[in-house]
Symmetry: C2
Subunit: 409 residues, 2 copies
């Protein structure tokens, strides 16, 4: 008996004739892809680890399984039009195998490997002429020592794989500390690289979406504010960024997408710093080949959100307009605080809306855990300082259930 | 054993501590409520007739059942915070029973009855001083005859219940035709009323949302273009509408919501016509107590969409800003044409986006049927004639797979 197309999970979730996108990963990025899929007349097929995960809560076609298990992946992609991801951790070998079995994988493993391994990525970027801070593979304490000398002690040590949100990144203050860290991590089996710390002005993010057939569309460049290695705020467009530097950042992201063969959304996280002549310049920090925290503002500040654009891109549909709908849009993350306040989240939302009727709250269906990304607030307007202040007040209130500025009703 | 709250359908679909909204009805309005529920950290509980219906395709918590069956309704609302609707056809008696069992029903049966029965609605509107065209109950051919005389033959005959999209509305040209229609319909058991045809300038729609605790927020008034009794286009805000008349329309909608105790979204469909002095004026045509076709533009042209606002309103959350995000937004419906073109819908979407990158396509997960509402296109911009033309070209292309203006690539 031949199985009809697209019927691995729940065939009722898909209208005949419309494409089915399999999303590997069950976090908030998959969840927000589902909202956009719905508008496009679709519903995603989800490979989820648990039935109550952020994305599984809101999808009718869920395959439960493990993204490191080839058979689970096979089950999740049976009959779909395209397979995509909400993270970069699916083993490359599995993806190659699936491609050999005829699966349409976007972005493909040759691109993804650059988002999986920080050393591979930097070597590739250097190869294509993209600016990156000086870096080296660290396979011994001798490597670490040599790099320490080469960059005058300004060392950032990174795990090559698996880091995120400040995890897997260390800033050793001394040669001794670097040596000890290196020994400990290598002994634990963590492949390492090191990179020169730049004299950071701020962080920027240049996002693009690219179709398999070639079209690339860059969004406006945003400023990304990091707190303890986690993105906590994005301001679109990046304030006081010269048009020349913005254009350079966009072109850099476009050329990385093209040279690396990225499809779907690509976030190029950038350092802005001063060059030897004191002029502002940029270098690549990290790449993410999927919708990204620094692109959440597009949901409420741009004609086409990153989640819709990602789906369109991996399906090889023409990309949408990235015109902004407001002079400024600020995204502020809602991260679980030290404790979960007694006031229920629903009441906190109500309090935020009472004070800021234009605040767009996006929650991920996650329960509290210290430091966990549980949502974000988008706010659009024309008065930058005010929009920033209000977006951050709103996000902070959702975390702490009290107004950081002492406001009382 | 006590059952935990919110676990009638799929408990995994809901994060602990967040409210659960039960939506009765499985069409596109429920589908679009789900997209907004997702952003708010929720997921709707759906009472659906079939597992592949428009809304059931995209919801993880679906109770299959019949909205006229009290036990099915009970099953659907078990443990939820509030029960709401994507149509007005749930029997009022059932709603009263559920309320007596402690269910929070929004809007309640006392309000809903006015959207269920056109005669009850008109009597109530007259009572509260809202402008309505002259009308009468039609229980016999004598009633029809008398009304025909009273309005000089300008008769619109309507089924009191169950009409939509031009169904249940007749325009008899002669006294004889009216008598024959009346006899036939009354014999078939269709309760009737008649209303004077107005010398229509155009149709408008004034929408508001209202919370149980009283807050009411009106959206900008839109022009609604009807073709064969079906809304095919909405233009927001209504072009060349005087601020005085717009304000009167908004105030009328607000006072209807208040007087009738409507909660959630309320659409007041209006006739604009000339009064005895040749001055433009308005009268109420129909009421809908739920998100409405004339409010779809809010998804891409307003800070708060009608679907988000409806959920917030029935949950008694503070309502969101209804600022427009663009000078003009046009919604054009995609209605199944006489035949379904060979070109698959996915390719039609691609062609539309190729030509109009800013077109926002919303599809409902429905297959083709002549005249069926299968989606809509929203387009925002600042040049009204151009936006209207392009939105309609895009919607028309999705229906017919050819450009009405002869455009070729």
């Amino acid at each position: 008996m031949t199985e009809p197309a697209g019927t691995s999970g729940n065939p009722n979730a898909h209208v005949p004739g419309m494409p089915v996108v399999a999303v590997i990963g069950d976090g908030q990025l998959a969840r927000m892809m589902q909202t956009e899929a719905i508008a496009l007349g679709q519903s995603i097929r989800l490979l989820a680890g648990t039935p109550d995960s952020s994305a599984a809560q809101v999808a009718a076609d869920v395959v439960l399984g493990d993204y490191t298990d080839l058979d689970d992946l096979r089950e999740a992609v049976r009959g779909v039009d395209v397979m995509t991801f909400d993270h970069e951790h699916v083993p490359t070998g599995h993806l190659r195998q699936l491609i050999s079995e005829g699966v349409n994988v976007q972005p493909g493993p040759e691109a993804l490997v650059n988002a999986q391994d920080k050393l591979v990525m930097r070597r590739r970027l250097r190869e294509i002429g993209a600016p990156v801070p000086p870096f080296a593979a660290i396979e011994s304490v001798e490597d670490a020592d040599a790099f320490f000398d080469a960059v005058d002690g300004a060392v950032c040590l990174k795990a090559r794989r698996g880091g995120y949100d400040g995890h897997g990144v260390w800033f050793p203050a001394t040669r001794k500390e670097l040596a000890e860290l290196t020994t400990k991590l290598l002994d634990a089996g963590t492949p390492l690289m090191a990179e020169q710390k730049v004299a950071l002005v701020r962080e920027l993010s240049a996002m693009v979406a690219r179709r398999p057939s070639g079209q690339v569309v860059p969004w406006p460049v945003v400023e990304s504010v990091q707190t303890n290695g986690i993105c906590t705020e994005a301001v679109a467009p990046a304030p006081e960024l010269s048009e020349e530097l913005a254009e350079r950042a966009r072109q850099l992201a476009v050329s990385i997408a093209e040279e690396l063969g990225v499809t779907g959304a690509l976030a190029v996280e950038l350092f802005e710093f001063r060059d030897g002549n004191g002029q502002p310049t940029i270098a690549v920090n990290e790449l993410a080949m999927r919708p990204h925290n620094t692109g959440h503002w597009t949901q409420d500040g741009c004609v086409t959100s990153q989640f819709e654009q990602h789906l369109r891109a991996v399906l090889d549909y023409p990309l949408g307009s990235v015109e902004t709908t407001s002079p400024v849009t600020v995204m502020a993350n809602v991260l679980g605080g030290d404790a979960d306040p007694e006031l229920p989240m629903a009441r906190r939302m109500a309090d935020v809306w009472e004070r800021f009727p234009a605040a767009k709250i996006h929650l991920y269906g996650k329960t509290w855990r210290a430091g966990r990304k549980i949502g974000h607030v988008n706010l659009a307007g024309d008065d930058l300082p005010r929009v920033r202040r209000e977006a951050n007040l709103a996000a902070d209130y959702l975390v702490n259930a009290r107004w950081a500025d002492g406001y009382t009703v």
